[in-house]
Symmetry: C2
């Protein structure tokens, strides 16, 4: 049984950051003692990292990249170091970043080189955006770009699981932030679906699907069954509903209903340029938290239905 959509919303002061650590079946499987605590600790540290940057005046794009990089490095989420394996026991990662101030964006998919896929996505973004350079690099081309860009390489020993496909430690990670200048940004990083076919790409690295940021509307990061989020154009739906006057909460709900209509499940975080935010998911749990000057909120990660 999958629960109905669980929604939560509010308004944050500027600056602000909202993060997630995935929505999915991980919530059903408390596999090891202390895991719950590690997930919450990772989320808290990522919120803290983003917050310190934001209050120091850093742009939102820096805050979301550093928050996601920390979650990638923790090994406790399905991204970066903790990315789950394909059907052949190998790791292939996807990530995207988008800067709402400039519209610049970058993403990689099916990459094996970068220690931090979110930094690789940011390096693609630095190529100049849609009018100047590529915005999405795949496979070997992505890996060679990472190498030539001087990005830190993932320990090759961690790319293969020697035939052992681990259970999913957690979900996709993502962050959205609003900086002191009122600019939005979004970042998403994932190892993809556990046991996926090699080469499989979901919504995370696709702008307007799993990742989106536009200062005139919202920043979005999604998590869940990526094919349905991709086909539904999830983040574009949120963006266009907000453009049409819907609240972030209503926009998120409607976009998630479009995913559910295609048989998909998952969740997302949405942050608007006026500080309104929303979190929604239809899985048993979604790891999430947010922070502004009034303090930090971390939702307990519930195991089991």
């Amino acid at each position: 049984m999958t629960p109905a959509v669980n929604l939560e919303s509010g308004s944050l002061g500027l600056p602000a950051v909202v993060i997630h650590g995935g929505a999915g079946e991980f919530a059903l499987a408390p596999s090891s003692p202390g895991r719950h605590g590690r997930l919450e600790e990772g989320l808290a540290r990522a919120l803290g990292t983003a917050w310190e940057l934001l209050v120091a005046g850093a742009p939102a794009i820096d805050a979301v990249v550093e928050a996601v990089a920390l979650l990638e490095n923790s090994g406790d989420f399905n991204a970066g170091r903790g990315a789950v394996a394909t059907s052949e026991g190998k790791v292939e990662t996807d990530a995207a970043v988008m800067d709402g101030a400039t519209g610049l964006s970058g993403a990689i998919c099916s990459a094996t080189w970068p220690e931090n896929p979110v930094r690789a996505a940011r390096s693609v973004m630095a190529l100049g955006g849609p009018a100047k350079g590529p915005v999405l690099l795949a496979g070997q081309g992505a890996d060679r770009f990472c190498e030539s860009a001087g990005l830190a390489r993932r320990d090759p020993a961690t790319l293969t699981c020697d035939g052992v496909v681990p259970i999913s430690p957690s979900g996709t990670v993502g962050a959205v932030a609003l900086d002191c200048d009122g600019h939005l940004a979004a970042a998403t990083s994932t190892g993809g679906r556990l046991g996926k076919m090699p080469g499989r790409v979901g919504d995370s690295p696709v702008f307007g699907a799993g990742t989106w940021a536009d200062d005139s509307t919202v920043a979005v990061s999604a998590t869940g069954e990526g094919e349905s989020f991709l086909i539904a154009g999830f983040a574009h739906r949120v963006d266009w509903a907000v453009t049409g006057g819907a609240s972030p909460e209503r926009a998120l709900f409607e976009a998630l209903e479009a995913v559910r209509a295609r048989g998909g499940h998952g969740g997302a975080i949405v942050l608007a340029a006026d500080g309104r935010f929303a979190v929604g998911y239809d899985t048993f749990a979604m790891a999430r938290g947010w922070r502004d000057a009034t303090g930090s909120t971390l939702r307990p990660i519930r195991f089991g239905p």
Copy 2:
């Protein structure tokens, strides 16, 4: 100078097919004698192939796949055999198909194996769609899937241009069709941007960007500067505008304006389930044609401004 948006629309009887052979700078470079005639001959043959299938009662998805496969095989378009080279003189192809009757979809990107990328996309579609299997495969994973699926392999000798980067022979190819049962389908295939960075992926293989089909609205295939079409969520914009009551022509115009606002240029074909169709582009020319029971229309491919 780039011209304003050039629009053309009408209504076709059932069954019907609309195809394109790209919108772009190729129109500025009549590189060899007889090339104009070869492009038109290819389009005419592709229209004929799709038409014969449709009148025989074949589903729209078969018609668009066979029309695009023929254009891929001609070598005169930037897809399949004629795909342009990356900055390193190698060929990497992208393609997508979508069936408006079922919502099933499949795509590949940065692939080197398939002789016919559009057939590879269709084989991904056969995995079951968003609720069951992957819908987008990238790079080596895509190539290995093609091999295991028994798809014909591209002659490896044609994968490398020995350092010679040819001029773009023409553009991306695509087809949309409406079959005797009233179902829509779309297919797009491309070699991507001439001299692209290895691994670069544009809008063609992304559902809701360069390719889309939904029986309740429209089928779409786009061509042009893929980054802007991808970020703009081009085909989703067309689909949602038609859902909101816009004509296919108006929807295409508005979506192309969103691409232009991001600095991009190109064109698209749109076919609605009620037979209304539209073609639009803001480049100097777009190779295109359509066919229904009243006959075949092939627009001359104009060279130069």
